[in-house]
C-alpha cells in the first residue's frame, strides 16, 4: 500500500534547480534509502517530505492526503512523522528530559512517559545514560538520543538525514544495529538519506539513487548494485569498468561486443549494431598467470599498470588494449607476486557483465 506518494517534485532556490521532477512511492512498513553524492538534493527532499519547506512545484500525498500546501493537514501530518538530522541537537537537560519532550508536548501522562522513555533508552542501548547531561555525550551517543527522541513518539514515518555522517566506525555500527532493529522488528516506515552506499544496502528494502536533483533509479539493493540503469548510477555504485562498445554479433542472448577492437562476450537482449556500455564490477574479475582452460568466456592478456593496496584487498589495474580494474585479496596479490609491468590474464564470466544502451 502506498503510504507516501511524491509526484513530479521540484525545488528551486535562487533560480538554482535543486530537485527536478522527483517521483517516488513509499510503501508502509518498508525501509527506503535515498543514496547520492553530496549536493545531490537528498536533504532538500527529506525537508520537503517532513513539511519543513514547500516545493516549487509537484505534490506530496501522505496517507492519501495532499499535504503539499494546505496548512491544516500539514500540522496534523507533521505529528505523524519524526526527523533525525545529520547533526543531532540536544536540549540543555538530561538524556531522559531530551527524549521525553515530544511526549510532554503531546500531554502524555507521567507514568506513560517514564515507561516509553525507558523502553526506547533500552532500544538504543542508552539505559545507563538516563540522568546524564545530554550536552556531555559524544557525537554518536547524541545521535542515539536523537533517534530515541524520534522513536518515542511512535512515528508512522521515520525520516533520517545522513544519520551516521561524520561518526566513528564503532558509533556507526551501533546506530546501524538500532536502525536495523527498528526496521525489522517494529516495521516502522523509514526513509533515510545516505551517501554511504553499503549502509543503504545493509538497511534498506529499496534504494533510490538521487544524482544532481534527479531520481535516476529506484529498486532493490541487488538491482541498484548489479543492474544499474544508467551510467551515472553505475559510476556512483562503484562499477569502475564502464566500457563503451557496439554489439557486433549475437547468438541467442550471448552477444559479442566490440570494445576498442577487443571482443567481449556478454549476455544481453540488446540487438546487433546497438551502441552499449559494458559494465564489469572489479570484484568479478579473476587474475591468472597463465591462460588456463576455464569456463569464463572472457580472458584478456595485459600488463599491470597500477597496484593499489587497500588493507585486506588490492586493486589491480591492467592494460589489455582497454583498461580493466580488478580487486583481489592482498594475500592473493602477494602469493601471485604481482608487480608493476608484469604480464597477467584477466578473466570474467559473460554472465557477470551488465550491458546497457548507450545514447
Amino acid at each position: 500500500m502506498t503510504f507516501l506518494q511524491i509526484s513530479d517534485l521540484c525545488k528551486t532556490y535562487n533560480e538554482r534547480s535543486i530537485l527536478r521532477g522527483v517521483n517516488l512511492s513509499i510503501d508502509k512498513g518498508y525501509a527506503y534509502a535515498v543514496i547520492g553524492p553530496t549536493g545531490a538534493g537528498k536533504t532538500t527532499l527529506i525537508r520537503l517530505i517532513d513539511l519543513l519547506d514547500t516545493p516549487s512545484s509537484g505534490r506530496i500525498l501522505f496517507d492519501g492526503v495532499d499535504v503539499t500546501r494546505s496548512g491544516k493537514s500539514r500540522n496534523s501530518t507533521r505529528r505523524r512523522m519524526a526527523l533525525v538530522q545529520q547533526k543531532p541537537i540536544v536540549f540543555k537537560m538530561n538524556v531522559f528530559g531530551n527524549i521525553a519532550c515530544g511526549l510532554k508536548w503531546r500531554r502524555e501522562q507521567k507514568h506513560a512517559i517514564r515507561s516509553k522513555v525507558d523502553e526506547v533508552l533500552g532500544l538504543v542501548g542508552m539505559g545507563d545514560y538516563r540522568d546524564r547531561d545530554a550536552r556531555t555525550l559524544s557525537g554518536g551517543e547524541m545521535q542515539r538520543v536523537a533517534i530515541a527522541r524520534a522513536l518515542v513518539i511512535e512515528p508512522e514515518l521515520l525520516l533520517l538525514d545522513e544519520p551516521t555522517a561524520n561518526l566513528d566506525p564503532v558509533s556507526v555500527s551501533k546506530i546501524e544495529d538500532v536502525l536495523a532493529h527498528i526496521i525489522k522488528k517494529r516495521k516502522t516506515t523509514v526513509l533515510m538519506s545516505t551517501h554511504d552506499m553499503p549502509q543503504g544496502q545493509r538497511l534498506a528494502d529499496k534504494i533510490a539513487v538521487l544524482i544532481n536533483g534527479e531520481l535516476l533509479q529506484v529498486g532493490s539493493p541487488n538491482e541498484i548494485f548489479c543492474q544499474p540503469a544508467d551510467r551515472k548510477v553505475a559510476e556512483f555504485v562503484g562499477v569502475e569498468n564502464i566500457l563503451p562498445g557496439t554489439v557486433a554479433g549475437k547468438e541467442n542472448e550471448l552477444a559479442i561486443i566490440n570494445v576498442n577492437g577487443e571482443d567481449i562476450q556478454a549476455i544481453t537482449d540488446l540487438a546487433y549494431g546497438e551502441n552499449v556500455f559494458v559494465m564489469i564490477r572489479p570484484e568479478d574479475i579473476t587474475f591468472t598467470r597463465t591462460r588456463d582452460a576455464s569456463s569464463a568466456r572472457n580472458v584478456f592478456e595485459g600488463r599491470i599498470n597500477k597496484i593499489v593496496p587497500l588493507g585486506p584487498l588490492t586493486r589491480i589495474e591492467l592494460d589489455c588494449g582497454m583498461p580493466l580494474l580488478g580487486v583481489v585479496t592482498t594475500r592473493s596479490a602477494s602469493e601471485m607476486e604481482l608487480t608493476m609491468g608484469s604480464k597477467l590474464f584477466a578473466s570474467f564470466k559473460a554472465t557477470a557483465i551488465h550491458v546497457i544502451k548507450r545514447a
Partner: protein
C-alpha cells in the same frame, strides 16, 4: 595453476543440464559437497564437460556469503 581466487575446489562433474543459453554444472567434491555453476553452453562444450570429468570449481573470496542459523 596460479590464480587470484582464494577458493579452488577439486571435484568431478556430477551433472550438466543444458539450457537455451547457459548450462548448469553440478560439481561434487571428494567429501561429497556439491557446487552448482552456471556457465555458457559454449564454455561447457569447449571444456568438454561430461559426467565424471575432473574439474576445479573456482570461487572468489568476495563472492562467498556467510550465514548462520
Amino acid at each position: 595453476m596460479k590464480i587470484s581466487a582464494r577458493n579452488v575446489l577439486k571435484g568431478k562433474v556430477k551433472q550438466v543440464k543444458t539450457g537455451a543459453v547457459n548450462s548448469e554444472v553440478i560439481v561434487k567434491t571428494a567429501n561429497g559437497d556439491e557446487i552448482v555453476s552456471i556457465i555458457t553452453n559454449e564454455s561447457a562444450k569447449n571444456l568438454k564437460l561430461a559426467k565424471g570429468k575432473a574439474v576445479y570449481a573456482v570461487i572468489k573470496a568476495s563472492n562467498v556469503m556467510i550465514m548462520t542459523d
